[in-house]
Symmetry: C2
Subunit: 361 residues, 2 copies
DNA sequence: AGTCTTGCTGGAACTGGTTCCAGACCTTAC
DNA sequence: GTAAGGTCTGGAACCAGTTCCAGCAAGACT
């Protein structure tokens, strides 16, 4: 195969402009160390020769200024992660970086060496760094580590023992957030409070832990509605709603794993003629878009998704500049957003009162 | 900025496997010239070190195996060019090439040096070659030539003097196709035949030329309905339909520049209570999808769009392998597709007969 | 005048692959 | 025995940029 035509290189430009290659390179990259007259001469030579720098050669000894947002084991990019991605993108743009979105699917038990990477990660030199989100099992982290790309991760998606906190990650404190939310519900006079969420997922497990702590410290009895069947689906909500209503004593308030499920419960209750919050109170988690589509709007815990994304990007850039690891775990604060789904009960009276003031929006 | 971590290079692999770098490279690229035992040793070293070849370095001394389908001055990728693109893509895939789609906008009078290229063409080394389609003015070709990338073009989109046939191009013979189509209509007994199409576009101009030749050689009087106003829009069809019906003598058949306009005419006629083909016959051009959506389906000239795309890709690959130009112009045959929009008139009788046999589908 | 600083410049060395050539080794043929 | 041919292999040279360092000139300061 013959060589590609037009090998007009930086050396040709240098010759024509009567300067060294270093000078041409400095002009190309807007370096300041070039006098005005030389710069003009070089620019003239460039346009006269129709010189175009070679994309690959350029990226060989310097960074590509691309990072990859790698989403694991998710069929869809739903609103929660989409917001994080948006935060990453916003921050990246302001730092002159490109974000490439990629997905990966792997099993919890797949040996690290056998996990199949997306094409862009099979070769090195495409992206400078990685933001991990989705479902992060230890085998996955191990494999990512083995390809020696700087990475940061969304900590709340991390499965596995606590020692994995050593990874560079951005997260929020789900335990504390749910503790506070539960405390708020208790303060509203509720005693029978249930928790709904599949605790095999770490994000639900820590929320559940916070709920338990709040219940215990108030001397109340925690109740967990768990289920091995698919989470988040509307089937799951139907099933959970049925179970909740059959409990005895029937809970007056429910702490729900996330807004999606809370929405499902609300719809199921509504179908059964149960009113929220008059008959039963609901508290969600995440503050997704769907929280405002409910009637009344959902009281929930706001997770600063964009801020998480931005912080991830900032942290990744830090790592790029000094790969000499400075293990970090940044925690983004959450915020209880009180809207309309928690009813105020008169203290010490477990029975609902029709005179309860409505919650503020 | 510190260097990117993990500089595990091909030389590290070579050292560990106790072979030369050339051998590792041969293994990586599936070269045959390596003994089985050596190959195994190298593969083991690669996986032990977690070596990933460097994307950019790899593409420096070899081709990228990407080509660019560059579409000029079109807001949308409509069905005609989409089919050509599909042909290019199909052929590219079978040849192990990637197709990158890019668009460009420029003015007919923009000086070549000032035409702004899409980012992927600003640097060299992204794509090996170019397929041009859309609106091709001489200044554009000149600029493309100046960046020294092998290119081929869809010839029928080329504006400018005939000497531009020198470019490597794939095209179809619109003149001949329309000549034959017009001859067919004449054979059906029509004498008053008009042509509709904006002849400032070369593709319409050549079709018009074929129409004229057929009319002249049959001793008939050619009639052109031209208009400076936007082509292809439904407004244009409305306007054209009104004009056609007011002509005296009123044409019994119309050769239309393309199927899109033919569809517009058909709809306008229908609104005015004029029946196709009983009251007026129509012949389109291109054989786009829309031809079959008409009732009756449109008699038209089939352009082998996919085949044009495939031929473009093949020709481009030829050029890549031997850039030493072998100027070529490949002509893809067209085909008159007789469906239901041309009425058979009894010869020598310009007035329509109700007993005319219906055209075959 | 001598030294220091600063700004600009040239070019060698480097990036990490591929390619090519010469040479080693092993058959097979005469 | 040796010439010819084939397969396999090592490594230098190359691709086209960037980076770095030394060198030079001019101006500033002692």
């Amino acid at each position: 195969m013959e060589p590609v035509p037009n090998p007009i290189t930086i050396r040709d430009v240098a010759r024509v402009a009567c300067v060294g290659v270093g000078t041409v390179s400095r002009v190309l990259n807007g370096g300041r160390q070039v006098s005005e007259s030389t710069r003009e001469r070089v620019k003239a030579a460039i346009s006269r020769l129709g010189f175009r720098p070679h994309a690959q050669a350029r990226r060989m000894s310097r960074r590509t200024e691309m990072v990859c947002f790698l989403m694991s084991n998710r069929e869809f990019l739903h609103s929660f992660h989409a917001r994080i991605l948006k935060g990453v993108e916003t921050c990246a743009r302001s730092l002159g970086q490109q974000v490439v979105f990629a997905v990966i699917h792997y099993g919890e038990k797949t040996p690290p060496g056998q996990i199949v990477l997306p094409p862009i990660l099979k070769e090195r030199g495409w992206v400078d760094g990685l933001v991990l989100a989705g479902t992060i099992y230890p085998n996955f982290v191990e494999h990512i580590q083995s390809i020696h790309v700087p990475y940061v991760m969304f900590g709340n998606n991390l499965f596995g023992p606590k020692h994995m906190l050593k990874y560079d990650q951005v997260s929020f404190d789900g335990e504390k957030a749910e503790f506070e939310a539960t405390q708020f519900v208790i303060e509203q006079g509720h005693h029978e409070i249930a928790f709904v969420g599949e605790t095999s997922f770490p994000w639900f497990r820590e929320r559940h832990a916070g709920y338990r702590r709040a219940m215990k410290s108030a001397g109340l009895n925690p109740v967990l509605l768990n289920s091995q069947q698919g989470n988040g689906s509307s089937d799951y909500a139907e099933w959970a709603a049925r179970n909740l209503l059959q409990m005895s004593p029937r809970p007056t308030a429910i702490m729900v794993g996330n807004d999606e499920i809370a929405f499902g419960l609300w719809r199921s209750f509504r179908k059964s003629g149960i009113n929220v919050p008059d008959d039963i109170s609901l508290v969600g988690f995440d503050d997704r878009d769907i929280a405002l589509l409910m009637d009344p709007p959902l009281t929930t815990v706001r997770v600063q998704k964009e801020e998480i994304g931005e912080t991830l990007m900032k942290m990744l850039l830090d790592k790029l500049h000094q790969p000499s690891k400075h293990l970090a775990r940044q925690v983004i604060p959450t915020q209880l957003i009180i809207r309309g789904t928690v009813k105020h009960l008169y203290s010490n009276s477990p029975s609902a009162s029709l005179l309860a003031p409505s919650a503020n929006i």
